[in-house]
Amino acid sequence: MNKHVLHLVLARLVIALITLVIVSFTVFAATVLLPGDVVEILLGQAATPEAVAGLRAAMHLDDPAIWRFLQWFAGIFTGDFGISYANNMPVADLIGPRLLNSLKLAGITTVFSVPIALTLGITAAMWRGSWFDRTVTVLSIGVVSVPEFMVATSAVLVFAVYLKWLPALSFANEIHSFGQMLRVYAMPVITLSFVISAQMIRMTRAAVIETLNTPYVEMALLKGASRSRLVLKHALPNAIGPIVNAVALSLSYLLGGVIIVETIFNYPGVAKLMVDAVSTRDLPLIQTCAMLFCIVYLFLITTADIIAIVSNPRLK
């Protein structure tokens, strides 16, 4: 019985690993396709042919790209992610603290937005067709349709510039108390929640409505169960599969997709790092970032799959 689940889970993990390899190679290929290499870009306007040649030699960028990729790839297994071309620092050191920041932001956003989104989705489903339901559905679309940078900038103007309640920038490295944490994260989190909630709300609503039409919910109704009991105890547990899936997909945005928020609030996360890496053609850095995003993405969807499997007693 549980052996079965284990089997499914393992299968998922193996598949995830395969995907990972595909991605890192695809990203590598993509980067190599880009014109201009790290040397030209580092030298910028000073990139005279001989200067370029010289620096290239100095940085051992003459050996074929694929070879460097393989070296990097081999390195991973020894926990060595290579040295950044752009500033000769170990990639691990560059990413480490920023990854932590990103995860913090993502985590807090999750804690904040997921419950709200689910509640809205579920309540909307509960009173399906009601005005509440309609407003939620329309608003959820309205909210995503406002460009992210617009939301962020407006938030800064209102809360930081005029009301002076919150700082305009998020200094992740200055948090010593819970209060400060709230102040620092409030705006980025709100902005991000705006972006990711819609999909969760819609999917949750759909999934719950789906299960509300099943015989066992009717049965519960005929036992005299209240509306809330119908939804929470009977519909919801059976809607978990699709819901976690939607949540996972929305959350997968929180690592690589938050570039705008990172820029506007000057929040040092990995998204900006990745963009920099791409602009400087910093292969080891790009590779590692891409790996990272992919891992998180796969982690999320795989967890979603697994939760779906586990939450379904038929597979126990």
Partner: protein, 553 residues
Amino acid sequence: MANLVEIRDLKVEATSDAGRVIEIIRGVSFDIAEGEIVALIGESGSGKTTIALTLMGYARNGCRISGGSVSLDGRDMVRLSERERAAIRGTEVSYVPQSAAAAFNPAQTIMDQVVEITRIHDLMPRADAEQRAVSLFKALNLPNPQSIGSRYPHQVSGGQLQRLSAAMALIADPKLVIFDEPTTALDVTTQIEVLRAFKSVMKKGGMSGVYVSHDLAVVAQIADRIIVLKGGEIQEVGATEQILTAPQHDYTRELLSAFTPKQHARPQAPTAAARKPPLLDVLDISAGYGPIQADGLPLMRALKSVSFRLEEGRNLGVIGESGCGKSTLARVIAGILPQVKGDVIFDGRQLARSAAHRQKEELRKLQMVFQFADTALNPSKSIGDILSRPLSFYHGMGRRQQESRVCELLDMVRLPRAVRHRRASELSGGQKQRVNLARALAAEPKLILCDEITSALDTVVAAAILDLLKELQRELGLSYMFISHDLSTVQAICDEVIVMYNGEKVEEMATGLEEGPGHPYSRLLFSSVPKLDTRWLDSLELDPELVSAFARR
């Protein structure tokens, strides 16, 4: 006896997708006395379930109670507020669903759901509730009553679920219990157990009951009174005995006659047939699901080296209970599930294992009709399109040819030509099954595999379908392989029967010899078919060993 329930001039109306409002219950009135069990008999669409549900003040999505009164123990369920109704549901009137499998929440343990009523209305501490549940399990003689509650619905058999759902309804010993076709989904051998259990519990508790069913024989065993319904109106009300023996209303008679179909007239001497090469020759087939094991056989074996042959123009019945592999057999022959071992020789040619590798001609000559008419029809296509596809596919017909041929086919299966513009969802179960049949006929096959095609239908409709099959056979010289769990249907149409149990062919015989079957399982099976006799169930003596050996409780 005072009346527990008094229904007066009840009206229910439904709104169709197109927005039309139709009255589906047209002024029904009847009473139920204390401790009385009343059966609502009728075909699908007769409104029997709808009426039963109004007793809980509930009307399904798209329906609403538009008139009349349903007074339960003096309170009118129609007038009460939703909150008040909720308070009564489960405590005073409770419901045993048609398909327990669907009515149990897959995500919760059985015990949670059985005691839920006591939690909702909080009637007693959980411990007591569980006590009570266990005693009910005993009373409904469920196996290992102590532990069964901790399982999940998918971990117990259909028969057990059905009884558990009864326990679920009885937990708060209500005054009235509504049974909605509780045994329709069960195998005959199981059905007996369930019926017995219900009957005894009800009698002990002295509860009133409403028993909704389309199966007179079943009702005969349990009900005191029978109400015959048709098109949302009461046709006849009477004591069970009287309804069975001296029916007043024509419709009631129709039902009764449909129940005992005429035996199939044996065709020309088998000896003559014997000389012909067999139309279908199945040699030592093994098949199943799951990964292939070391021994070259799949993990879950549904068929274990089954062989038989079927001569042209003759009909073979395959009978057995759910999970005996009879449907798998059909799927193997149709090439839907490739066998791992054995051969299928059809019309003198050996067939490839998978339909994908068979030739069009082979596929054309061998058609299959599925059990569930509605899932077998694409809901988003018109009947016309569905029927013309095989015409263009097999016979490469042009548009106009198709048009006329479709009409012919519809005539053949006794459906109005106008149907071809409708979608499946707009047809009744019987009509859908006819469409399925027509689709098979469109291919002009030699053999049709009928997988339980009548078991989802009302008796009358089923009988009509059987007659249709016979006529078609006469006109087109078809052969049928007829799969069913119901002996009488098989008797009605087949020349030979093979009895299957647990993936194996246990017996092969000519129909009509059921009185003296060799194999004990066959005996059990045949004796379990309910008879139109109120005393049948009580008088029935089953060899307990047989039961314990074969019946999947």
